[in-house]
């Protein structure tokens, strides 16, 4: 069981390493979107500090969605998705492996680079730490929710747009509590309430999303 999980993660991370351009695209998108705002709205530190949590979270959200299309589409096209479904373990386990790999490749780099981006917005140190924690809890959740959308649109033409429509509404709670945590912390308040809710959402997502994704994959492969 652990071996299956390990090899799914290994396979997808190895594929990502072979195609570094795809990984870099997500990261650059995040950096560029988040950096355009200070240039666009002008260098007023107070305004930037107010806008920072929302901008950083929206940028992370869009960047995470950018890579969702590839989660199952390529495996579907070359026939390896069929082989993954036939793995003699619960399909949800394979899905967890793919989501973990997706997060390692597209979520974790964002989390790691976010403190540097946050400096552009003149966020206080406490808020940067909160941002790091919130993204650490929130980005895996984005990958989990996104996987459901990606599985539902496997083999659908123009699936990319459809994924956004399916997934964005579900991203809203993550956005609200993620940005809320950073907001609270920037104003000198306690962010642990927001972070706890994000943590609870992550646990809920871990418990439900892989099964929903597995069911969606089975339907898409019929």
């Amino acid at each position: 069981m652990m071996q299956t999980l390990r090899y799914v993660v290994f396979r997808d991370v190895l594929l990502a390493i072979r195609r570094r351009a795809d990984v870099a695209t997500t990261l650059f998108f995040f950096v560029i979107v988040a950096s355009l705002f200070p240039l666009g709205v002008g260098p007023d530190p107070k305004l930037l500090r107010t806008m920072a949590p929302g901008i950083l979270w929206v940028a992370a959200l869009l960047a995470s969605m950018l890579s969702l299309g590839r989660l199952f589409a390529e495996d579907y096209a070359d026939g390896s998705l069929e082989q993954l479904v036939l793995v003699p373990e619960p399909l949800a386990l394979v899905v967890i492996g793919k989501v973990v790999a997706h997060w390692l490749v597209s979520g974790l780099p964002l989390v790691l680079i976010s403190p540097v981006i946050a400096l552009q917005f003149d966020l206080p140190r406490d808020a940067i730490v909160t941002l790091l924690l919130a993204l650490l809890l929130g980005t895996p959740l984005l990958s989990l929710i996104g996987a459901i959308g990606a599985a539902l649109t496997v083999g659908v033409r123009g699936g990319g747009v459809l994924i956004s429509l399916l997934v964005l509404p579900l991203y809203v709670p993550v956005l609200i509590f993620g940005a809320g945590a950073v907001d609270a912390s920037a104003m000198g308040m306690d962010a642990s309430g927001h972070l706890s809710i994000l943590g609870a959402l992550l646990l809920l997502g871990l418990g439900l999303a892989p099964w929903a994704t597995a069911a969606a994959l089975r339907i898409s492969l019929e």
């Binding site: 071996q3 299956t4 090899y7 799914v8 290994f10 396979r11 190895l14 594929l15 072979r18 195609r19 096209a77 070359d78 026939g79 390896s80 069929e82 082989q83 993954l84 479904v85 036939l86 793995v87 003699p88 373990e89 619960p90 492969l221 019929e222």
Partner: protein, 206 residues
Amino acid sequence: MLEVSGLGCLRGERRLFVGVSFSLRPGGLIWIQGGNGSGKTTLLRTLCGLTLAMAGEVRWGGTSIQLLGEAYRRELTYIGHANGLKEDLSAQENLLVAAHLVGQPVSRAEVAGALQGSGLAGREHLAVKFLSQGQRRRAALARLRLTPPRTLWLLDEPFNALDTHAVAGMRKIMENHLSQGGMIALTTHQDVAIHAADVQTLRLDA
């Protein structure tokens, strides 16, 4: 033993096949024949459990494959029309990952041996995107050379894109598998004489 009774399948509004029944005993081979679009691939996918049957049942050892789930998937190797290889990985990596995923913990040496047996010696470390169609097919079929083999092989057009030499090699592998009590269900348009004690043919567009 694989038993299929009264299997029927629809594709959209069209009836692909109905009332397909057969049973496959250890050492048995079933050759599924039919024209293009007669439902051969759908039948094989139904036998794997990838597609749900509209009517009828597939049983393995007397139990429905839907109930068996993982226990059934542990008994079979399915090689579909698509090769299921990742273009950016080498044949060696593809085979190694595929084997571990289905719970066949093979060593690198075994994988290299299987690829050599498939005529891919010297190409093991080349990314699959640089291989020809025939070489990709050989790499996909190399899974059948790993030991211990799964009991039931479901092969969709296994000889596609293969040259005569590779076809002969595959035929030997299949005959060997059957003689050791394995079972094979395959579709092919090529006339390949596989010698086994128990060979059935099933025509779908009758």
